[in-house]
Every structure is written in C-alpha cells, then in structure tokens.
C-alpha cells in the first residue's frame, strides 16, 4: 500500500496535475477570501469556503479521472494484481495519495484565519471546523470520482461522468424545491423510482420475472402505505433528496455548530465510495 501511495503521489507531482490542483484551489479560495473576508471585513472564514464548493465540480474530475482507469487502460494493473498487494491496499494507497494532494493546499488555507486574526477578533473554532468540513466534503467527492474512474477504461468518460454526478449533487437542493410538498407528488416520485429500480434490475440480471415481481411488490407496498397513511409521504421526497446533498453537510459547521452527525455522514460516505471502488475492481477480475 505504501509503495502505491508513494508512486501515485510522485506521479501527481512529477507531472503538473498536483500543482494545477493546488494552484487552482488556492486561487479560487483566495478570491473568495479577499472578496468576503478582506474586502468586506467579515470575520467568518467558513463563509468564504461555503461559496467555494463549486470548485470540486471542476477539480475532482480532473484529478480522479486517471486514478483507476489509466491503470486498466495501460495494463499496469497486471503488475499490481499479480504482486503480493491486496486490492484494498491498492485502492487505499491511491485514495490516500489523492487526499494528500488535496490536503496540501488545504494546509495553506489554514493560514487564512491567522491573517484574519491579525486584523481583529475571530472565532478559531468556527474557522477551523469549517475548514475541516470543507476538507471532508472534498474527501467524499474524491471518493466518488475514484469510484467512477474504476468503472471505465477511459479517463475522459470518467471525468465527464464524475462531473455529471457531482453537478447533480450540487444542484440537488434546487431540484428538490421543484417538487411540491404534498404527499401525492412524493408518492408519484417514489413510484417512478421503483420503476427505475425494476428496469435496472432487469438490465443487470436479464430476468424478466424477478424484475416484474420486485417492481409490482414495491409498487403495491407504496400504494398500500399511500392509501392507509398518506401523511408519511408529506415532504418525503425533499427529505430524501436533501439527504443526498453532500455540500449541505457543511452548513452547520459554518454556522458554528459542530454537528457530529454530519461528521459521521461525511466520513461514512467517503468510506462507502472507497468500499464501492474496491468492489468494482474485484468484480472486474471475476466477470
């Protein structure tokens, strides 16, 4: 694992990728920091960071796109999988290298609150917990990007898919507000979702009976619930979509609430996608 970590890190910095990542991230954070904190004299650094989350849409696909797909394309994965290194070790090595590339510019941003402090009184706890939350959101996005990169052999496709997924997640709170709060709209939304699940099941298993039965049973459960207790559908779709909004986990931290549940949410989401990556790599060796 250490060997892979070192190799990855070296390859990020022997090319320009690592430097571009750091420079772009620091540039954008610097602009927001100047505009919000320095120009307007607002003492909360977290406020600037919350405006910066969109950089992940650009930076994460660029840095993660080659992470897994390139190995597969150039067949260098043959070396790794035939040497005494586990798949878990390989994926973790790569993920930690990504995190390191991300952590280095973040370490520099840790100086910004100190700059602010020289001009007046600020809350260090709020500033640094915001930086932590921003970092964790980035970790989740990097894990998502790595997972998508493991699905394909083409780095370009991986980058586009990662962008689409992160963009959808970025807009998800906006999408949620399109739905009406009433139970009927939630019910219809779930009904469509169940249909999509059944279709996906059919595509994956090629078993018509299984997908039809699963689809019908789930729709029946939904219908029964809707008829007997319609109130549970009130606003449900907003809640569900809201739960998928990764960047929203930052809000509490920025407002000065150290919310442990959000911390657990971000950490487990990152772990989940690292786990998915491991599974997707393992699966490919069995197909």
């Amino acid at each position: 694992m250490l060997a892979i970590y070192k190799r990855e890190l070296k390859s990020y910095y022997s090319g320009f990728m690592g430097f571009v990542f750091a420079a772009f991230l620091l540039f954008i954070i610097g602009i927001y920091f100047t505009a919000y904190n320095l120009a307007q004299g607002y003492p909360h650094f977290g406020y600037a960071l919350s405006g910066v989350t969109f950089v992940f849409l650009v930076l994460v696909p660029i840095i993660t796109m080659r992470c897994m797909s390139e190995e597969r394309r150039s067949k260098t994965d043959q070396l790794i999988f035939t040497s005494p290194v586990s798949v878990t070790g390989m994926v973790l090595g790569k993920y930690f290298a990504l995190l390191t590339v991300f952590a280095l510019p973040m370490a520099i941003t840790c100086l910004y609150p100190l700059i602010l402090a020289s001009m007046g009184k600020i809350s260090y706890a709020m500033a640094y917990s915001s930086i932590l939350a921003f970092f964790l959101v980035g970790c989740v996005d990097l894990a998502v990007g790595m997972f998508i990169s493991s699905l394909t052999e083409s780095p370009v496709l991986a980058a586009v898919l990662t962008f689409v997924v992160l963009f959808a997640d970025y807009l998800i709170s906006g999408i949620a507000s399109f739905f009406s709060n009433e139970s009927t709209s939630s019910f219809l939304g779930f009904a469509l979702f169940v249909l999509a699940v059944a279709l996906l099941l059919f595509i994956m298993t090629k078993s018509l009976w299984l997908s039809v039965i699963v689809g019908v049973v789930l729709e029946a459960v939904l219908a029964v619930l809707y008829v007997t207790k319609a109130t549970i559908f009130t606003g449900t779709i907003q809640n569900v979509l809201g739960a998928l909004d990764v960047a929203a986990r930052m809000d509490d931290f920025i407002n000065g609430v150290f919310n442990t549940s959000n911390l657990v949410y971000l950490l487990s989401a990152a772990c989940l996608f690292v786990f998915f990556t491991i599974q997707s790599v393992e699966k490919r060796r069995w197909y």
Binding site: L2, A3, I4, K6, R7, K10, S11, S14, G15, S74, K75, T76, D77, Q78, L79, I80, F81, T82, S83, P84, V85, S86, R285, W286, Y287
Partner: protein
C-alpha cells in the same frame, strides 16, 4: 511447483480455457505453445492471480492463488504480454517501485536493482524515462520487473515479441540461465523458440491441453513419416514398382504425370526415419529413369504442432481415412507386383497399429478430461 486442476474460464458463451490440468515441476523451463487465441495468456493471467477462473484451482507451492494470494504471489514473477510499465517513471524508479510492491527488504533494494539491471543489460538506461525507451528496452524492463526478488517461478508471456534477432538470442540465453535456478514458464507461438529453450512443451489449442511432453518426445511422435519428393522421367508404373522395391515404403503418391514427356512428380512416404534416397537413385539408374529432382522432408515439431492444433480428432481421423484410401489405390495400381504389395501392406498395417495407439492415447486423454 504449480498444480493446475480443471481450470475453466468462460467469457459469456465463449470458453477461453476448457478444463485445463497440468503440473509444473521445479527447476525446469516450460513452454506454452499454441496458436493465437488458444488461451495461453488467459491461462497465465489466471495462474498469476490477475483474473479469477470460472472453475478449477491453481496451487502455487501449495498455496491457492485465490485463498492465499499474498503467499502465492510472492513466489511468482510475471511478465504479461504487454509489459506493465509506467511511462512517467525512470527505469530505476520503476524497478524500485516493483521491489517495494514485492516487499523486498529495503536495505537490499539498491544492490538488487543494480544486479537485475546488469542481468538484462539495461544499466545504461537506468535514469531514462520509460516512455523514451524503444520497444526492445521496454520488454527488457518488463523482464527485469519479473525477475526482481528472484521469485521461484517466473512466468513470461511472449517474452521475445518485438525484439530484434540479436536481442532475441540474448533473451533466450537469459531465460536459459534463469532456468538453472528458477522454474520458468514461457508462452510463445513461435515453435523454434520454444523448442530451443524449453525442457518441456505444453501445446494448447482452443483452451485445451493437447500435448505435454519434452521436445524430443514430441518430435518422435512425428517419426515414421519422412517424405521424399521426387521428379522422375520414365514410365509411371515402372517407376512406382522400382521405388516400392526399395522397402520401408508406406505409400506412394503421384502428384502429377505428363504422358508426352514421361515426367512424373511423386511423393514417397517412408516409414520410420529411413533415408532411402541412395537406394532410389540406384533403382532408377537400373531402369534408366533419370531423377530430375529429389528432396527429403522430415516431419518436424512444426508438423506435430500443426497437426495437434488443427481441429484435432476430426481432422486426424479424416487424414487417416484419406491415407488408407490412398494405400488401397496404390495397391490396385500395381497388381502385378504382388510381393512388394505385401510388404507395403504390412507396413500399412504397422502404421495402422501406431495410428491406433495414437487413437487410444487420445481417447485416454479425453477420458482424463
């Protein structure tokens, strides 16, 4: 030691490897031979743990490649078809990375890498980026990668592809010297390469093992079927009778005969590795039929390979049927030479028994499968 039992790999409906079983003993050089798409690379990929088999088991020194991958993979060095090189690293960096991957003691890295680079003659290239190396040097770096840590078993998938003739000879010598201390398995579709280097040859066709023997034994399988090609001017029947009287003749084919000039082209199938060219010369001199051309072709490993990798049993039995038909034709063609016919009939009988033997071998193999 590698034990492979009942290996099956299916890609959808396509069976790439079909119930392959063999054992690789220590300290020998094994050659995997087969036409393109025979399943050589797939088998090697499964043996090294890169992909998993659909069915069957691979034991490396008693460790199952799927159950105890770390132990099993420590014993193996693998050079895949395409050397797994990182283009953005220098040769030295790359080999250091491989040494770390293989968990060699850190202190030995520098010395060991220097030694390996010396062995495959890439010391001059040590600090160049791999993307700037030629195909031959890349192949050598790949080879260096496989022998780093001196694993007990070295598996090489087409190690000489893309090299110039001089490099091929060097790599072969290298493989031979590696074979003194390690078990080497190499794959190739080039016959001369395998027969030059290997102690044991495994021929694979359509995912099945069709032969597993030493090169000498495999060539012996082809013995008894030397062909002599002749162009002789003279009456067809007289020439045939004269040739038959030489003995050791399996049967004679008349490829072409021109009535006006009396020139005929004959192929004489001779039993066992008998060289009867001299006798033919004198016989023809006796009947005053000048030999315009004569050449001999012994069945080589190549013919065995071609025969084994064809549509196997079907084509073989077809060939046998064709041969007996030919024999019958020859017999009717030379009724007057009853005596020689008898001998040729005997020979044909002997041929049939050997053919039968091959047939039973085949049947036994099929039963094994």
């Amino acid at each position: 030691m590698i034990e492979v039992t009942n290996l099956v790999k299916r890609y959808g409906n396509h069976t790439a490897v079909d119930r392959l079983s063999f054992t690789v003993e220590d300290g020998q050089i094994y050659g995997f031979l087969g036409p393109n798409g025979a399943g050589k690379s797939t088998t090697m990929n499964i043996m090294t743990g890169y992909i998993a088999a659909t069915e069957g088991q691979v034991l490396i020194n008693g460790h199952d490649i799927l159950e105890e991958p770390a132990e099993a993979k420590k014993c193996i060095g693998y050079l895949p078809e395409l050397p797994p090189l990182y283009m953005d690293m220098t040769v030295r960096e790359y080999l250091k990375f491989v040494a770390e991957l293989k968990k060699l003691p850190k202190k030995e890295h520098a010395d060991h890498i220097a030694e390996v680079m010396e062995t495959v003659k890439i010391t001059d290239m040590a600090d160049r980026l791999i993307k700037n190396l030629s195909k031959g040097y890349r192949q050598r770096v790949g080879l260096a990668q496989a022998i780093i840590g001196y694993p007990e078993i070295i598996i090489l998938d087409e190690p000489t592809v893309g090299l110039d003739p001089k490099q091929i000879i060097e790599i072969r010598d290298l493989i031979r010297s590696l074979g003194k201390k390690h078990t080497v398995i190499l794959s190739s579709h080039i016959l001369s390469e395998v027969s030059a280097v290997c102690d044991q040859i495994m021929i694979i066709s359509k995912g099945k093992l069709v032969a597993n023997d030493t090169p000498e034994k495999l060539s012996e399988m082809a013995s008894g079927t030397t062909d002599i090609h002749l162009e002789i001017k003279g009456d067809r029947e007289r020439v045939k009778a004269a040739i038959k009287s030489c003995g050791f003749i399996d049967y004679i084919e008349v490829n072409s005969y021109q009535k006006d000039t009396g020139c005929g082209v004959y192929t004489v199938h001779v039993q066992e590795n008998q060289d009867i060219r001299e006798e033919i010369f004198y016989k023809m001199a006796d009947i005053k039929a000048p030999i315009l051309e004569m050449s001999i072709s012994r069945k080589s490993l190549e013919d065995v390979f071609l025969e084994l990798t064809k549509d196997e049993a079907v084509s073989r039995s077809e060939k046998k049927a064709k041969r007996t038909a030919n024999g019958a034709e020859n017999e009717t063609a030379s009724e007057d030479e009853a005596g020689t016919d008898e001998t040729s009939g005997d020979e044909a009988g002997a041929d049939e028994t050997s053919g039968d033997k091959a047939g039973t071998d085949e049947a036994a193999r099929e039963e094994d499968e």
